[in-house]
């Protein structure tokens, strides 16, 4: 599903470079044993960047909740309305939440609690890839 291409900046460049390689990376603070997303300049818990680095995450997760978008102001997304917008919680750290359009899942047919796995989709404007999630078929 086409969406806006994110423009990487100094803070999230590693995240988007990894996405282009088909990898999901998150910030991790070794001092606090704490994953963090979205990216921040420092660990939100200890306030330091000293022990903050990027680590690869498995990308498996479950569907926490969702909404079905019928009327978005975002031009790139309008042709695909109605579409799902789900919140994914990662198995690696259940406090970490991502957004996903759940490619392959019809709008409104979203099972909360279902297991999902990460895939990477190219966005049209710049070709930048972004993580998406698909339901794991049992």
């Amino acid at each position: 599903m086409p969406k806006q291409s994110p423009i990487p900046d100094d803070l999230d460049k590693p995240f988007y470079e990894a996405a282009n390689q088909g990898r999901l990376v998150l910030q991790y603070c070794a001092a606090d044993d704490r994953w963090q997303y979205p990216p921040e300049p420092v660990c939100a818990q200890c306030g330091s960047a000293e022990n903050l680095s990027w680590r690869q995450a498995d990308g498996s997760g479950t569907i926490y909740s969702y909404g079905v978008i019928y009327d978005t102001p975002i031009a790139s997304l309008q042709p695909d309305q109605p579409f799902n917008c789900a919140v994914i919680e990662l198995d690696e750290c259940r406090e970490i939440k991502f957004m996903s359009h759940l490619p392959g899942t019809p709008a409104g047919e979203v099972p909360i609690g279902a297991p999902v796995t990460v895939i990477f989709e190219e966005t049209p404007a710049t070709g930048q890839k972004v993580p998406e999630w698909q339901i794991v078929e049992s």
Partner: protein, 452 residues
């Protein structure tokens, strides 16, 4: 007139941390005057209905309502931002007739699409004694909290809390960054670029809520019907003035979705309107022309860092249901602690309803009418009307009167003064709660007929 001291931030006035104890000015500050502009859906281009003109109108009305003279007003607290999501188009010149109608500042947007102390005081020459001005961004709830704290601290004696919302032609948020094929900034990682509608976050939380506790979106119908019904009894409100038809349950259950489970009627409608209140000391209030309504305490949820006041940080990319519930509950604890009351003392509530669905979280967070987590949808099926034992949103809120976040403040004051007209509740209420906006960022106050 000596130039006033202008505080560009109200952050230091908010009570957003735990353990502050009772509000030291409990019962010592009172609301004594209310002023409202008319309403319209979008600005009609007449300078005399510009947001600046209507801010002046609301202030003058509040002063007259309180029975003070303009030269007795020594404080002003307001939000310099007046946008409800609509901005003056960059390629459109400011209308000459607007510029000619008012004393201008160096910024032609003043009075048109924003408000500055300089513009307001230049165009209200009768306010000869204003010494204290504080800018409280985002909504009337921030302005009221800052005002009552300022009066309590003795920074001002007769103070106006003011909020204006302009609205221009066009659908909101459809231009600018949302029209681009790319996205920059933190919105890349949030619903801002993945979903779009501002009600998405609440809709997602509500979907999780019904998954967790049971119930359905349909069970919101009595709340929305009740709110619009109350709004139609609010002569100052948009729908009473311009679209005087109720919402039926069938209307609610069949209208179009925006971000399912949030439909059209779960989203408030932007309008062009202003309101102002006069607050003063309890001692001064006794001599004025309206019955004083005493502030027992105030508190809120947010992050204060120096002069910055921002939402409570979520753990990740979106506020979860559990975070919203925790934020509502912690705000409620602070408000009750400040006011020296508990949920059983609150006889009516005017919590914010800009997206109707999160009113559930406020009711449960405050424990209004004894409602606990997971119980609110069932509670909405009981008598929540102004005629019943547990009036819910007697103002009708934004659902009832349009997007302003001030109907609840006006109604709470009017109810306790016995001036709510056709909306006057049947219960003999002594104590009510008002505030906004969402669990992630808010200010509330408890008001009472009695100072003690």
């Amino acid at each position: 007139m000596t130039a006033p001291t202008i505080y560009t931030s109200a952050a230091a006035m908010y009570r957003t941390t735990d353990g502050l104890g009772p509000w030291p000015y409990r019962g010592k500050v009172a609301a004594v005057g209310i002023g409202h502009s008319p309403t319209m859906r979008r600005w009609d281009g007449d300078p005399q209905t510009s947001i600046g003109a209507w801010c002046i109108l609301a202030v003058r009305q509040a002063i007259a309502d309180a029975g003070v003279s303009p030269d007795q007003v020594d404080g002003l607290v307001f939000d310099p931002g007046t946008s409800t999501g609509a901005y003056w188009p960059a390629d459109q010149p400011v209308p000459e007739d607007f510029l000619a109608a008012f004393e201008q500042t160096s910024d032609p947007m003043d009075g048109l699409a924003q408000l500055s102390p300089e513009w307001l005081l230049k165009n209200m020459p009768e306010l000869t004694n204003v010494k204290f001005v504080m800018l409280a961004s985002h909504c009337m709830s921030m302005a009221v909290a800052a005002t009552v704290e300022a009066v309590g601290r003795g920074l001002t004696n007769v103070c106006i809390a003011l909020k204006g919302w302009h609205n221009f032609a066009g659908r909101y948020y459809h231009s600018g960054p949302n029209a681009l094929p790319t996205v920059s900034g933190p919105g890349k990682h949030t619903p801002q670029s993945w979903a779009g509608p501002t009600s998405y976050g609440t809709a997602m939380q509500f979907e999780r809520y019904t998954h967790k506790y049971g119930g359905s979106h349909d069970m919101m119908a009595p709340f929305v019907v009740n709110s619009r019904g109350n709004g139609l009894l609010f002569p100052e409100g948009y729908f009473a003035q311009h679209r005087n038809t109720p919402i039926t349950a069938e209307d609610y259950l069949t209208t179009r979705w925006i971000a399912k489970p949030a439909n059209l009627f779960d989203n408030d409608m932007p309008i062009h309107a202003t309101a102002a209140y006069v607050f003063t000391t309890a001692e001064r209030a006794r001599d004025l022309q309206q019955p004083p309504v005493y502030v027992l305490g105030h508190g809120g949820g947010g992050t204060v860092r120096g002069d910055s006041y921002s939402p409570i940080a979520s753990r990740s990319s979106v506020e979860t249901l559990e975070e919203a519930q925790a934020n509502a509950a912690s705000t409620a604890r602070r408000v009750y602690e400040a006011a020296g009351v508990s949920a059983t003392d609150i006889q009516f509530e005017n919590c914010y309803d800009g997206f109707s669905l999160f009113h559930v979280f406020w009711i449960e967070g405050f424990g209004f009418a004894g409602v606990k987590e997971g119980e609110c949808l069932d509670f909405f099926q009981t008598d929540i009307s102004i005629n019943g034992p547990n009036p819910v949103s007697p103002s009708g809120g934004n659902i009832g009167s349009g997007r302003t976040r001030f109907w609840g403040w006006t109604d709470t004051i009017q109810q306790l003064q016995g001036r709510a007209g056709a909306r006057q509740m049947k219960i003999d209420a002594h104590c009510g709660l008002a505030g906004a906006f969402m669990p992630i960022w808010s200010n509330f106050a408890v008001f009472s007929k009695d100072p003690g």
